[in-house]
Amino acid sequence: MTQTKKSSGHPLDGLLRLDRIPHIWCPGCGIGTAFSSCLIAMKTSGIDLQKTVMVSGIGCSGRGAGYVNLDSYHTTHGRAIPFATGMKLANPELNVVVFSGDGDLFAIGGNHFIHAARRNVDMTIICINNFNYGMTGGQVAPTTPYQAKTTTTPAGNPERPFNLPLLAYASGATYVSRWTILHTRDLMESIEEALKKRGFSFIEVLAPCPVNYGRRNREKALDSLKIYQERTIIKNDAHPTELDIDFDRGVILGKFIDLDQPTCTEMYDKTCRPKDLLYD
C-alpha cells in the first residue's frame, strides 16, 4: 500500500500525482507496495525521468499508470505491451515501463508478451501476480494455482497455472526475476537493475489480493506475508523450469536470467536501414 498523505512530505511526492490520492487499492492489497518499490527504483536508478513513461493495461494493477507523475498511459485490456512497443520504436530515447497485472499481461495479453520478449524490445515489464482477477471480483486467472477457489472456479481451479519466468525466458526475455512484496529491498534493486539494463526485462512480483483471492482461499493479508517469508527460497540463477509456484514445496525467488543481447531497435537499425542513415 502506498502510505502517502498529502501533508507528509513523502519521499516520492514528486513521482506521485498527489491530486489523485486516495488510490483505489484495498487495505492489505500488495499492489501499492510493488508500485512504491517501482517509483523508488525509478528515482534511485538515475534514469532521465522526463524521458520515462509508464504504460498500463486494465485491472487493479493497471491503475498504476494513473498515479505516477510521469507521462503515463492507461490503455486497453491486455494491450499495454503493443502500445508500449509503438512508443519505444517511435522514440527509442524513451525509457518504457509497463506496470500491469497477471490477467492483463498473460491471459488477454499473452500473445503480445511473448512477441515483445522475442523481439527483445527495450522495456521493463513489472507484473503484479496476485493469482486472480481482482478488479472484477476475483475470477480465475492463468496464474491461479491448481485447485484454488475463485468466483468462476467455485469447486477449485481445474487448470494448471503458468510459470511466468519460464514463459518469459522461453520467449526471449533478457532479464527475468521474481520477488514478493515482502522482499522490498530485493525488489527495488531488481527493478533498478532492469530499468538500467537494455533489452526486454521481466519482473514478477507476488502480491496478496486479500479481498478477492485471499478471502476465498483462507489467506488473510498477513498470512500471505507470512507465507512469503516462510515458504520462499532465494536462489539466484535457478533454472526457469524449477520455478513453478507451489507454496507447499517452497517458491523460488531471485534473479534468474541476465543476458546482454541486441535490442529490437538495434537489430532493426543494423538490418533494415541503409548504412549511410545510421547516425549515432
Binding site: 489523485r20 499508470a65 517511435a90 530515447e93
Partner: protein
C-alpha cells in the same frame, strides 16, 4: 502504381514515420511498401503479432509524437476496433486504411466489397464521431491518405481510408507532386507552463493541444472517462463533458471536413449517390442515362463519415429521387434514405460483394423506378 502502393506513398508524403501492420489480403502491399520505404527515411516499420497489436502500436507511436498508420482488411479491421476506440477516447491522431474485401467473416479474401462502411461508423463500442474517406482511384488513394493524416492531426482522432480490393490492386498512373507542393498538417502542441498544462482543455478551436511523451508535461491518458486533466472521473457529468468535446469537434466543423463532388448534378432530377470504386460505375451510368433522356446526376462522397446530411436534405427538396450504388446490400443507402426525410424516394443498387457493379444495373433501375 497500384492503389495499395499509392496508399503507402500518400502516408509517407503526409509525414508518416511509423507503420504497425499485419499481413492480410488485399492490404498486404501497403505494409510491404512501408517496410521498404520507412527505414530509408528514418521511420520504423514493424509487423506485429496481430491486428490488435498493430492498432495498439500505432496509437502508442502517435503518443510518442510520430505520425503513424496501419492498413488492413475486414477481419483485421474487426480486431482493430478496440484500439480505434482507445484513439477516439484519448484523442490520438492516426490513420487506418481498410482495403475492403467481401465478408462476413473470411468471406472472399481476394475480391472486393464496400461492406464495412457501417462498421467504419459504429464498429467500436460506445457513441462517437469518426472521419472516413473513400477514394475511387490510386491517385485519389494517394491524396486522400494525405488528407486523412491532415484531418487526423487537426482534429485529434483516427481517420479511416475506406478503399477496396478493386482499386487497392488496380494499377494506374499516379502523379506524386513535389514535397513542397503538398500541404501537411501537424497537431497543435502546447505552449506555456508545463505544470499548469491540462491535456484535454480545448483551445479556441475546440481541440486540445497535444503533448507528446518525453517533453516533461507528465500527462496522463486513459480510455476511462476523464476530465480536462486526463484523470479518470466516474461521473455522469464527466462523461457528458468528454462526449461533448469528442462529438463537437467533428459536428461543429462539418464544412471543413466534408468533401463531395458533383457530376452533371446542377439540373439533375435523379441523384445517384456513391463512393469509392462504385463511383466509376456511376460516372458511366450518368452519361448513358442522359443519352436515354433521363436527367441523372452523380453525387460522389469523398467523405463518407461524417455523412453530408444537409446536402442530401437540400437535394431531396428539389429532385425526384435518389439511387445509391454500393457493393453491399444497403448501408450508405440507409443514410441517404434517412436524410431525404421522406421528401424523395431512395433506391438501392447493391451487390453482396466480389465484383464491381456494371452501369447497366443502374440504368435498369432508373428505367424501372422513374
Amino acid at each position: 502504381m497500384t492503389g495499395d502502393v499509392a496508399c503507402a506513398e500518400g502516408g509517407l508524403a503526409a509525414g508518416c514515420l511509423f507503420f504497425g501492420g499485419y499481413p492480410i489480403t488485399p492490404a498486404t502491399e501497403v505494409a510491404e511498401r512501408m517496410s521498404e520505404r520507412l527505414p530509408e527515411i528514418g521511420g520504423t516499420f514493424i509487423q506485429m503479432e496481430d491486428e490488435i497489436a498493430a492498432m495498439a502500436s500505432i496509437v502508442g507511436a502517435s503518443c510518442a509524437g510520430v505520425k503513424s498508420m496501419t492498413a488492413t482488411s475486414g477481419p483485421g479491421f474487426s480486431l482493430m476496433m478496440e484500439n480505434i476506440g482507445l484513439a477516439i477516447c484519448t484523442e490520438t491522431p492516426c490513420v487506418v486504411a481498410n482495403v475492403q474485401r467481401a465478408g462476413p467473416s473470411t468471406g472472399l479474401p481476394t475480391q472486393g466489397a464496400q461492406a464495412d462502411m457501417m462498421q467504419a461508423r459504429w464498429g467500436s463500442h460506445g457513441h462517437y464521431e469518426i472521419i472516413a474517406l473513400a477514394p475511387s482511384s490510386p491517385q485519389e488513394i494517394f491524396y486522400q491518405t494525405i488528407t486523412a493524416f491532415n484531418l487526423s492531426e487537426k482534429y485529434r482522432l483516427p481517420v479511416l481510408v475506406m478503399t477496396d480490393e478493386m482499386i487497392g490492386h488496380l494499377s494506374e498512373r499516379v502523379i506524386i507532386p513535389d514535397a513542397k507542393d503538398i500541404k501537411t498538417v501537424s497537431r497543435t502542441r502546447p505552449k506555456g507552463r508545463k505544470d499548469r498544462f491540462k491535456p484535454y482543455r480545448p483551445g479556441p478551436d475546440g481541440i486540445a493541444p497535444m503533448a507528446i511523451a518525453g517533453e516533461g508535461y507528465n500527462i496522463h491518458m486513459t480510455g476511462l472517462t476523464h476530465d480536462e486533466r486526463g484523470y479518470p472521473v466516474m461521473t455522469v457529468e464527466a462523461q457528458y463533458e468528454m462526449m461533448d468535446r469528442i462529438m463537437k469537434k467533428v459536428r461543429q466543423n462539418l464544412d471543413d471536413i466534408i468533401e463531395t463532388e458533383g457530376y452533371r448534378l446542377d439540373d439533375a432530377e435523379i441523384v445517384i449517390v456513391s463512393y469509392g470504386v462504385s463511383s466509376r460505375t456511376c460516372l458511366a451510368a450518368v452519361d448513358e442515362a442522359r443519352e436515354l433522356g433521363i436527367k441523372a446526376g452523380f453525387l460522389k462522397l469523398i467523405t463518407v463519415w461524417p455523412f453530408p446530411e444537409d446536402l442530401i436534405h437540400r437535394l431531396a427538396e428539389r429532385v425526384k429521387g435518389f439511387v445509391t450504388v454500393e457493393i453491399n446490400l444497403g448501408q450508405i443507402h440507409l443514410e441517404v434514405e434517412r436524410c431525404t426525410a421522406g421528401k424523395a424516394p431512395a433506391f438501392l443498387v447493391g451487390h453482396p460483394g466480389g465484383t464491381i457493379i456494371p452501369p447497366e444495373r443502374v440504368i435498369d433501375l432508373l428505367k424501372e423506378a422513374f
